[in-house]
Symmetry: C2
């Protein structure tokens, strides 16, 4: 289900790598795995499945409910609300640009978007389906899905494997290019304000980009320990260490508090912050990251400059058509 | 908030009016009230508001959550699920073609789509906002909404009145024309099967169209008593009389069990049936209506024919663009 990286390999020394000369713009196409080439038919089916609340036990929760494609790709909540109003312990990561994550979920336990898509559907506090067999049975009863799966994958193609492949193919189209940052890197020097350029320089100088590297500012599939520096005062407020990250799954003490490096793209739209959504503002998130990861107490001006820069990472959201979901005559959810 | 019709006026004698010669197709444009002319800008804003979960206390429930515009305009549940997983006592009516209802809500307590739109937002078990002042304050904090309201209504226009006007303007575009029935009435005699034509004739002969009249099969703003005929056996199963309908609001005993006549358009997609969603299949719904409203026990073949006809009332769902909702930097919902 996931590969555990060695601690040595994943703990890149924050601040030791200058990438000031390597600012990258966001690609407009995401790479697809060999066994799931992106096609228009898969994208269309995937968009339907992604927005279909009938993939949940109650008929009320779709992928899009918590990872909202009309907004910043999540729900602006500390923890998402699944079936029957239940909440879990982690904050929904944005679906936008998730195609550029090498690993998925906060703890990086899924190696692909396909793997990830399978999880929430049968999670009892998220979409609450008893099994994927039940999901497949539900989809098979819907004539319009029989046709859409056939178009995308061939005859009698409704399966967990194909459903998650279609969802992943759709998610690979959820890319937000042309942020002010991208325009600036592409040569439009007026795209950023002076303050934003100062913030950009500080992000590199301070070492934020040691982990938040690459076009999506999410490292190259990198895991990172968080918090690196123990701080009882902040821990008492934010309870960051209550959740052990990757170790919750691997049960390996070496993986305690290891997390996928999250993207900084569109971060201004995705409050609250951190894996448990305990921090409400970007200002506080930046100040905490500097203290807990880099051991630096930033002056207010530096925080303001970095936040200004982070606001320049909000991209253009692509125009989408609204899916028309095929009806199920006679279906009732309880 | 609503007008109480006299009992005599609303209780049209079912079966006494033959409208066999008056089959009407669905108009493709809905009339708008004088003080809320439909404009492209209002429709665009209304579509955004309709799909925005930030109109709920938890940030999880939009109008579209229960009245799903990607499906049959509702949620296929006996009772919808509002904030914190709460459920009420009535089944969500479809939003499709609701522009052709003269009154809104199951009990008809709202005289317009504008009036209706104001209700669920502050209903504690639906969208759970404490007040419309809170909604307006939230919208005012979102820059993109300031612009969208200005385009639709002019400067500093964010208000309850304008928000509900925009939502209503959008809802007036949610029309599903060109059902097989419409094509048949328009002269395409191959659009219906023989069984569907038999069902259509029986619907008129039996008197269903005494109440379910007009282009949307919803009467002309008509209220009707339901059930007309007392039946302890069915009551024990379905509890139709537990909810007193219009009398719950008017407190007038003469209004007990008076309901808005619901549209039959797209009814095949909107199981389960009746105000409390207690009946799972269209077959059972048709049989119960014949017994409880017309005092007739229908042979199975008649039920099958009528159900076949009702399936011919599923229209074409218009293609919509997906709204891009303006972000709220720094917003958190709990």
């Amino acid at each position: 289900m996931f590969k555990i990286r060695s601690l040595a390999a994943v703990l890149a020394l924050a601040g030791s790598v200058s990438i000031a000369s390597a600012w990258e713009t966001l690609p407009t196409v995401a790479p697809a795995p060999e066994d799931n080439a992106t096609t228009a038919e898969k994208i269309e089916l995937g968009q339907m499945l992604y927005h279909d609340p009938r993939l949940s036990s109650t008929g009320t929760v779709a992928c899009a409910s918590c990872h909202n494609t009309m907004l910043g790709g999540e729900d602006n909540r500390p923890n998402s609300m699944g079936v029957h109003g239940q909440t879990g312990g982690r904050s929904a990561p944005t679906v936008w640009n998730s195609a550029f994550n090498k690993v998925q979920f906060w703890d990086g336990r899924a190696a692909s978007l396909e793997d990830q898509a399978a999880g929430p559907v049968t999670n009892p506090i998220e979409m609450g389906m008893k099994s994927w067999d039940d999901v497949v049975a539900r989809l098979k009863a819907i004539e319009g899905y029989q046709q859409a799966f056939e178009k995308a994958f061939g005859k009698e193609a409704i399966s967990k494997d194909n459903a998650t492949k279609a969802i992943a193919a759709y998610e690979r189209t959820l890319i937000t290019p042309n942020s002010p940052y991208d325009k600036y890197v592409d040569g439009d020097k007026a795209a950023l304000t002076e303050q934003q350029v100062r913030g950009m320089d500080k992000v590199a100088e301070l070492g934020c980009t040691g982990c938040h590297s690459g076009a999506a500012f999410n490292g190259a599939g990198m895991f990172q320990k968080f918090p690196v520096i123990a701080n009882g005062y902040f821990e008492a407020q934010y309870h960051f260490k209550k959740d052990k990250g990757l170790a919750e799954v691997s049960k390996n003490p070496a993986d305690e508090h290891l997390w996928k490096v999250p993207t900084l793209r569109n971060i201004a739209l995705t409050a609250p912050y951190f894996h448990n959504g305990s921090v409400k503002t970007l200002e506080q998130a930046v100040a905490l990251m500097a203290q807990l990861q880099l051991g630096k107490e930033l002056p207010k001006e530096d925080v303001a400059d970095i936040v200004a820069f982070l606001n320049a990472l909000t991209g253009e959201f692509p125009k989408q058509k609204m899916p028309v979901l095929p009806g199920t005559p006679g279906t009732t959810f309880n």
